[in-house]
Amino acid sequence: MLLFEILTVALKSLVKNKVRTLLTMLGIIIGVGAVITMLAIGEGAKKLVEAEIATMGTNVITVSSNSNPRTAVRQESGTGNAIKLTDVESIKYQVQGVNYISPVVTTYGRLRAGSKNWRTMAYGVNSEYFFIRNYDVSDGQFFSSTQIQSGAKVMVLGKTVADYLFPDGGAVGQRITIRNVPVEIVGVLAEKGQSAVGGDLDDVVLIPYTTVLARLRGWREPQITINVSAISKDIIPIVKEEILQLLLLKNKTLTEDSFIVNSQTDLANMANNVSSTITLLLSSIAGISLIVGGIGIMNIMLVSVTERIKEIGLRMAVGAKKRDVLRQFIFEAIFLSGLGGIIGIVLGSVVAKVVGNMMNWSVVITTWSVLLSFSFSAIIGIFFGWYPARKAANLNLIDALRYE
C-alpha cells in the first residue's frame, strides 16, 4: 500500500470521527497551551526584572551610609552620615575601574511655575550622573561641570514634571522656583516611560549637588550617597571591595558595617533567583498539565483502538498487512498531535498575551518552550497512537473480526 493512500485513509478516519478526534486533540491542546502560557509568563517575569534593573543604569554601584541605628557608628557630630563629599574625589582617583562617579544629595521640595505646583524629590548630582543613569536630553542640555563648580541655579527635569509644569512645551529657559529658590530649567530628559513595576521613570528633578548643598539643604546634615559606574560588569566585585577598603582607610573609626555598597549585579542575581523560582514553579504546573494531557491522549487512543479492533480485523481480512494498519494509526496520531500541538501553541500564545495585557506584564514566548511542549506532545501522541494499534494488529485476525 502506498504511503499516500494510508495518509488519505488516516485523514478520512479522523474526519469521520470528529468527536473522538477533537477529544484527543483537546488533551494535547491543553497540555501544550498550558506550557506555552506558563513559560511565557515566567520568562516575562524574568525580562521584567531585568528591565527594571537595566533602568537603573549600567554597572552601577551605590555607596551609602548604613543608617540602621543598631549597627551604625555614630559620628562625633551626632549624625549617621559616614560618607563625606571628599570621598567622591578619593574614589575617583584612587580606585581603578571607575568610569563615572557622582554624589547624590537628596532633597524634598515644591516646584512652582506660575500657579502650578509639583511636590517631588530632587537629586543633587554632578554631570557624570547622567551617564551613570543613561539619561538623554530631549530638549536643552545637561548642566556643565562649570555650572556644578559654581553652584549654578539650574535644573534638569524629567518629562512628566516638565509636561505638568509646562503643558504647552518650552520648559527649557523658563525660570521656576524650588523651595522659593529661583532656578532656570536648562534641559528636559528624554522619556523613559514606566518602570516594569509601574513607577514613573520620568518623575525626576536634577540639580547640581553644589546648589543643593549651598541653597537647599534642610535642617539636618544632608545624606550623601555615591553612585559609581564601573568600566565593566566583571570588575564590579573588585571595585566594590576597593571602594570599601578606601573608605575604611580614610576613616579609621568606621567599620564595614558603616557602609552599604550595593551593585546592580547583586540585585540582578537576587531577582534572577526569585524569577527562576517562579519559572520553576510555573514549569512544574505546565509539566503536570502536559502529563495530564498525555494521559488523556493515551486514554482516548486506547479506547479508540479497542473500538476499532473490528475495523482492524476487517482491513486485514481484505489484505492489509500489519505495517499498513500500524502506519495508518501512526499517521492518525501524528496528525492529531501535530494539529493539536499547533492549536495549543496558538492558543497558549493568545492566552499568554491576554494575561500579559491584563497584568500589564510583557510575556515572552520562547522558541524552546514551543519546541519542548510540541515535541513532548508529539512523542506522547505518537507513542499512544502506536502502542495500542500494535497490540490490535498483533491480534489473531479471526479474534479481531469477532471482537465485541
Binding site: 502506498l2 485513509v9 469521520k16 481484505v318 489484505g319 485476525l397 473480526l401
Partner: protein
C-alpha cells in the same frame, strides 16, 4: 482435465480452552474444482465457519495441508497471506462487516487500497463496476446505516468481488436476511457463477442449497455427505414466480 482449485488433506482444527479441547474439524479431505458452486451445510457448531475461515486464509489449521490455486498455504508468511487474501480471495461475512460512516463506494474500494500500483481513478472505476454487478449503482454514496440489510450484503459482495478473485467464500450470506432478499442475493451469486467465479457458501437452509451445484454436509467436524445437485434451481425463476403470484393475489 478439470483443475483442483482447492485441495484439502487431513485438515484438523482444534481449539484449546483451558483443559478442554474442541475438535472443530477432524481430518477433512475436500477438493473443489475451478468454476464450481458449492454449498456447505450442517448443524450449528459442526465446523462450517471454522473451515471457511481456513479456506479463506483468515485462520490457520492445526494440522493437515491446504493448497489453493497451486500454492501451499501452510508455508506462507503472514504478509504474503495478506496478499493472497487481497488478490485471490473474496470473503462475504454473515454480518456484512461494512465500515460505518463510510460510503458504499469507499467500502468496496477498501481491498484495492491495499494493492500497489492502482491509481485512484482505476480503483473507483473498479469499485463502481463491482457495485454495478450487484445492482447497487444507484447507491454509491450511501452510508451502511442508510441501506437495507439486503443492500448492505450486496455492498459486501461487491467488496468481495472487486479484486476479481479466483474464489468467493460466503459464510451464511443470507443468514440475516428475509427469504425474498435471500433469493435476490442468491441470484447475485448465480450470476457471478455464470461469469466463471468459483463460489463456496455456507448455509443452514436446504432451500438455499438447492441453488448450488454441489452440497457438502458437515456433522461434528466431519464431512458426512458430499453430493452433486441434479436439479439446480434458478433464483431468477423463483423470483419471477413470486412476483407473478403476488400480482395474481392482487
Amino acid at each position: 482435465m478439470l483443475i483442483n482449485l482447492i485441495e484439502v488433506k487431513d485438515l484438523t482444527k482444534t481449539y484449546k480452552m483451558g483443559d478442554i479441547e474442541v475438535h472443530a474439524l477432524q481430518s477433512i479431505n475436500l477438493s473443489i474444482q475451478k468454476g464450481e458452486f458449492v454449498s456447505i451445510m450442517g448443524m450449528s457448531g459442526s465446523g462450517k465457519t471454522t473451515l471457511m475461515n481456513i479456506l479463506g486464509c483468515l485462520d490457520k489449521p492445526t494440522s493437515g495441508s491446504y493448497r489453493l490455486d497451486n500454492v501451499m498455504i501452510e508455508d506462507i508468511p503472514k504478509d504474503d497471506l495478506a496478499d493472497i487474501r487481497n488478490q485471490k480471495i473474496g470473503f462475504v461475512f454473515q454480518s456484512f462487516y461494512l465500515l460505518s460512516r463510510t460510503s458504499a463506494l469507499e467500502n468496496v474500494e477498501l481491498p484495492l487500497l491495499y494493492r500497489k500500483s492502482l491509481k485512484r481513478k482505476e480503483r473507483i472505476s473498479m469499485a463502481e463496476d463491482a457495485l454495478k454487478t450487484v445492482q447497487m449503482s444507484e447507491r454509491l454514496h450511501h452510508y451502511p446505516n442508510q441501506l437495507s440489510g439486503g443492500q448492505q450484503q450486496r455492498v459486501a459482495i461487491a467488496r468481495a468481488i472487486v479484486n476479481n478473485p479466483v474464489i468467493l467464500f460466503a459464510d451464511e450470506p443470507t443468514g440475516n436476511l428475509d427469504s425474498r432478499t435471500s433469493l435476490e442475493i442468491i441470484n447475485v451469486f448465480q450470476e457471478l457463477h455464470k461469469k466463471g467465479i468459483t463460489i463456496i457458501i455456507v448455509t443452514h437452509e436446504p432451500e438455499i442449497a438447492q441453488f448450488t451445484e454441489r452440497i457438502v454436509t458437515f456433522s461434528d467436524g466431519k464431512i458426512i455427505n458430499d453430493v452433486k445437485n441434479h436439479k439446480i434451481e434458478s433464483a431468477m425463476e423463483v423470483l419471477k414466480q413470486l412476483s407473478h403470484a403476488k400480482k395474481e393475489e392482487n
